[in-house]
């Protein structure tokens, strides 16, 4: 396998075969060769240099304190704040914005000695399922550049799929890690809501957002998750419960586990190639000793509507701070009101404006009960249905996406784009952990298998995914004509 894992790179560093600076440089040049896919918005050279030097010192002077991520290069999504690094959320309205503080999750990676090399492209304010909503151009899928990588963390998925970095950070509000992972044939994990601090994450929907890793193996996903997870006093929604150690869970296999297959997730609307790949994956899990049983989540058909009330409602408030007064784009007008109108009218793209208006409408006087309040009730039903399913099974397995990566421009109708996330967004509504791992190809395009667990059973989800991955080896598949050079210098 020419795309090295975190463990491979860590071993190489410790054997003295390479250095953090060398790895960073190799990643950077690999990313540059991906320019036609447009996955990178900017490089973080100064930060990379500092971090690489720091990691080198740690590895040389106190290697016992160096964790598995020390000296390892990575990229992160343009919604995560780092002090001194331009962060724009893929939007014109934040062009030039430089945060004066570093968020917690990224801060923990920096403390672990990881080396950030680039900021990846994404849908504007994390709103989208194809990375076509970025103000800085769409991203191409490494498997077929004329197709989308998925979204909103399209850039983060693409750079890992192309082998330029061993891991990246993305965010998931309705599927924005899992769906691009599925489209790009890599592992992408959304932790339990509250497991990873949101401090420093430019908010889209506060009760749904989570930060999570992309990598080419579940093992690497687990390493990154362990480094970033855990309570943060700066995030009141982060859980004070201890993070269950993941490492020990990973190799235990699925023998004896009960896995549920949600009937509604395999009903209609799946592309035949997706259905075939997922059914094979389910059969594989049975071979490995798991018992599969059908469960029903009847409110699934209402989940999209629920999500597209709650998420826009929250984002309409979260994005109100983009007003041209303290930071970001400012379109000058004599009156304050006109400044607001022009700045926000010009600074936000169409999808963002749609969602702000949808959310404002759902919260507005006379509509609050029928929309927002109603959606919060259906959300309760959705969460309870998952709870009931988990009384009978240990985890759920199903497709991540009903379709494979589609051509750019193919889903210009907003609603058709929203339908991409039908199988992922219920998981966010219930705050559950969910991962997508590659489970096959359909006409040369990646298909993803989703594993969903009860709240705080992140380790269990990773365990099921790891067992499947190790038995089938789909994660070793690489895009057919990768423009990227390998990240390890020969």
């Amino acid at each position: 396998m020419s795309h090295p894992t975190v463990a491979d790179l860590g071993a190489s560093l410790r054997r003295g075969e390479t250095s953090p600076a060398e790895l960073a440089a190799a990643s950077r040049s690999a990313l540059e060769s991906l320019a036609s896919l447009n996955p990178v918005l900017r490089y973080t050279d100064e930060l990379a240099e500092r971090q690489a030097a720091r990691a080198a010192r740690t590895l040389a002077e106190s290697p016992d304190t160096a964790g598995p991520l020390c000296g390892v290069p990575f990229a992160y999504k343009d919604v995560l704040c780092v002090e001194g690094v331009e962060t724009t959320a893929g939007s014109r309205i934040l062009q030039g914005y430089v945060p004066p503080y570093t968020g917690t999750a990224l801060g923990r990676l920096l403390d672990a000695g990881a080396v950030p090399v680039a900021v990846t492209n994404c849908d504007e304010f994390a709103m989208g399922s194809s990375n076509e909503n970025s103000a800085f151009g769409p991203v191409g899928n490494p498997w077929d550049p004329s197709r989308v990588p998925g979204g909103s963390s399209g850039g983060s998925a693409a750079v890992v799929a192309a082998g330029a970095v061993p891991f990246s950070l993305g965010t998931d509000t309705g599927g924005s890690i899992r769906q691009p992972a599925s489209f790009c044939g890599v592992a992408g994990f959304k932790p339990t809501y509250g497991r990873v601090s949101r401090y420093g994450l430019i908010a889209f929907a506060s009760s749904l957002d989570q930060i999570g890793p992309f990598a080419r193996s579940v093992d690497d996903v687990a390493q990154v998750f362990t480094a970033i997870a855990g309570h943060d006093p700066r995030d009141s929604t982060s859980s004070p419960t201890a993070v269950e150690p993941v490492e020990e869970q990973l190799g235990r296999g699925v023998e004896g586990m009960r896995l549920g297959v949600p009937h509604e997730y395999l009903a209609e609307g799946l592309e035949p190639g997706v259905r075939t790949a997922v059914e094979s994956a389910l059969a594989e899990l049975e071979k490995l000793g798991a018992t599969l049983e059908e469960v029903s989540l009847p409110s699934t058909s209402a989940a999209l509507s629920t999500y597209y009330i709650i998420a826009p409602a929250e984002c309409s408030a979260n994005l109100a701070r983009m007003d041209g007064v303290r930071f970001g784009l400012h379109v000058d007008r004599p009156s304050l009101t006109d400044t607001y109108l022009a700045t926000r009218g010009q600074g936000f793209g169409p999808e963002v404006k749609r969602r702000i208006m949808l959310g404002t409408y759902a919260l507005s006087s006379g509509y609050y009960d029928a929309y927002y309040r109603k959606a919060q009730k259906v959300r309760t039903l959705i969460a309870e249905e998952f709870d009931r399913a988990f009384e009978r099974v240990d985890a759920l397995v199903c497709p991540t996406s009903p379709i494979v990566a589609f051509p750019k421009g193919a889903r210009s109708d907003p609603l058709s784009m929203y339908l991409c996330d039908v199988l992922t967004l219920p998981v966010n509504l219930a705050g559950l952990p969910g991962i997508s791992v590659p489970c096959g190809l359909s006409e040369g395009l990646a298909v993803g298998l989703q594993v969903i667990g009860p709240r705080f059973q992140d380790a269990r989800v990773l365990r099921v995914a790891h067992a499947y991955e190790q038995a089938t080896g789909w994660h070793a598949e690489q895009p057919p004509a990768p423009p990227a050079a390998s990240a390890i210098p020969r």
């Binding site: 919604v79 995560l80 934040l94 004066p100 009141s236 309409s316 701070r321 303290r326």
Partner: protein, 495 residues
């Protein structure tokens, strides 16, 4: 509809119409840090935008974290106002755009506030009045704006300072139970007193840590339906509140007399004009679109939390007034004055604890000390002399070591710089002459030296006695006890 004189007076208006007034008070809490971040809550005097952090600046990616003490102070206030504390409460987002509101929403409380259904009793002309308290809730303060030329309506630009943004702000909503501007004023005086007493607010109207808005409507006497409500803002003193409400009563009364309808609007009090001015503008109507704050888990305040806060509640003014009357025999009148400011009540109790008789303590505090405190703009607890020094001084008088006049002079002299009264008396020989033999000798001497005055006094002129007393005082350089001297003179002169 009768048309009465267009210049109805306040008295004439209130004969026909009943004012219905509800007050909304916002009080900044005396916490160390802001409501949702660690910046200081004590921002007065800080250079612009020097008391901010990513959270209170509302930068992308930040999150609020509740200040536990702010919650406690709010519950403490609610208990002092006899409110119920529901077990479940939460914060909500109140959404609107304004440059002093960094996030584009204020974190406040909408439908599940910390407390409800309380009441406040206070006195108006000796009569007890009770006003309902609808709710006490907690929110964050906004930043401050300065407008070019200082007049918002004409300013072409404004500047924003976010030092104050995020300071904990408690909102106390009163029921519309008030029926006059006097009642409104006394309600505010009592409310402010309570907030200062329980240590949650410093009661400073000028600096804006205690703010008041009013809602006022009029209805024909005897009617039960409410009239159109007008909101009145920008009243920066209790006097302004009273004047503004009286102005509104007259304004609305005259309009109603003429058959006009009252516009439901917000009006601002303009001190210089002695009038309220309509603040209607092209501003679009606010739809606050409240929804539960997703970044903050809800609160469960159980019985033990509430009881702990209740146990820590300091003595309230009314309780103190009753206790001072009971324990120290003060009159209701004196007790009310002594307790008007908590620091005065503390000083009184400290003096009594140091052995000063209650009546003397009250008299000194209400008299000389109040005057000095006013003139020097320095309250006793911040003066150089302090309560301890004052106690020592009064004790010297009570013991007869110095006379009242000497004590007053010493107080004047030592109040600001401080000092040890007993030491000063010793050093300067200011001790009162109290030796009976010495006094008798001086009295005899003055009688001998002032035959005219003696004759006048024996002839019926009381004033003449004072001249003789003055003579003894002069001979002792003011250190005799005037009452004793007067007594001795009378003895000698009246056969």
């Amino acid at each position: 509809m009768t048309t009465t004189s267009a210049v109805s007076t306040l008295e004439q208006v209130v004969e026909r119409y009943e004012p219905v007034i509800g007050l909304e008070v916002h009080g900044q809490l005396l916490t160390a840090s802001k409501m949702f971040c660690g910046c200081s809550a004590d921002y007065i005097g800080s250079p612009p935008n020097s008391n901010t952090c990513p959270v209170c600046l509302g930068l992308p990616g930040v999150l609020p974290v509740i200040n536990r003490v702010a919650v406690e102070y709010t519950v403490r206030t609610a208990l002092a106002l006899n409110c119920e504390i529901p077990e479940h409460s939460k914060f909500d987002r109140k959404n609107y755009f304004y440059p002093d509101l960094p996030k584009g929403y204020q974190i406040s409380q909408w439908d599940m506030p910390f407390s409800r259904n309380g009441h406040l009793t206070f006195l108006v002309d000796g009569e007890e009045v009770r006003c309902g308290i609808t709710r006490v809730h907690l929110e964050e303060d906004t930043g401050t704006l300065q407008h070019a030329g200082d007049i918002l309506q004409q300013a072409r630009s404004s500047v924003v300072d976010l030092n104050r943004a995020g300071v904990p702000l408690m909102e106390i909503v009163g029921e519309p139970d008030l029926r006059s501007s006097e009642q409104a004023r006394e309600y505010l005086v009592r409310l402010r007193q309570i907030l200062v007493y329980i240590g949650v607010n410093d009661g400073n109207l000028e600096q804006g840590s205690f703010r008041c808005d009013a809602n006022i409507s009029l209805r024909r006497r005897g009617e039960t339906e409410l009239g159109v409500k007008v909101e009145v803002k920008n009243m920066n003193s209790f006097r302004a509140v009273q004047r503004a409400l009286d102005f509104e009563i007259v304004r609305q009364g005259r309009l109603l007399d003429q058959g006009e309808t009252i516009a439901q609007e917000t009006r601002g009090w303009v001190e210089a004009k002695g009038a309220t001015i309509s603040q209607r503008s092209k501003e679009y109507a606010h739809d606050y679109r409240y929804f539960p704050e997703p970044d903050l888990p809800p609160l469960h305040l159980g019985a033990d939390f509430v009881e702990r806060v209740r146990a820590g509640l300091p003595e309230l003014p009314q309780q103190l007034v009753e206790r001072l009357q009971r324990e120290h025999g003060l009159s209701a009148y004196d007790a009310a004055i002594i307790t008007a400011e908590r620091e005065d009540a503390r000083a009184f109790e400290a003096l009594v604890a140091a052995g000063v008789p209650a009546k003397a303590a009250a008299n000194w505090l209400m008299g000389e000390v109040a005057r000095l405190s006013r003139e020097s703009r320095t309250p006793l607890h911040r003066s150089g002399l302090g309560v301890d020094g004052l106690a020592a001084l009064i004790t010297l008088v009570e013991q007869g070591s110095i006379n009242g006049s000497t004590a007053k002079d010493l107080l004047d002299e030592l109040y600001l710089p401080g000092g040890d009264p007993a030491a000063v008396v010793r050093e300067r020989g200011l001790a009162q002459v109290s030796d009976q033999a010495e006094l008798e000798r001086l009295v005899d001497a003055v009688i001998a030296e002032n035959p005219a005055a003696v004759a006048d006094f024996r002839g019926g002129k009381e004033q003449a006695l004072q001249r003789l007393v003055g003579g003894v005082m002069k001979a002792t350089r003011g250190r005799a006890d005037a009452r004793v001297v007067t007594g001795l003179l009378r003895e000698r002169l009246v056969p």
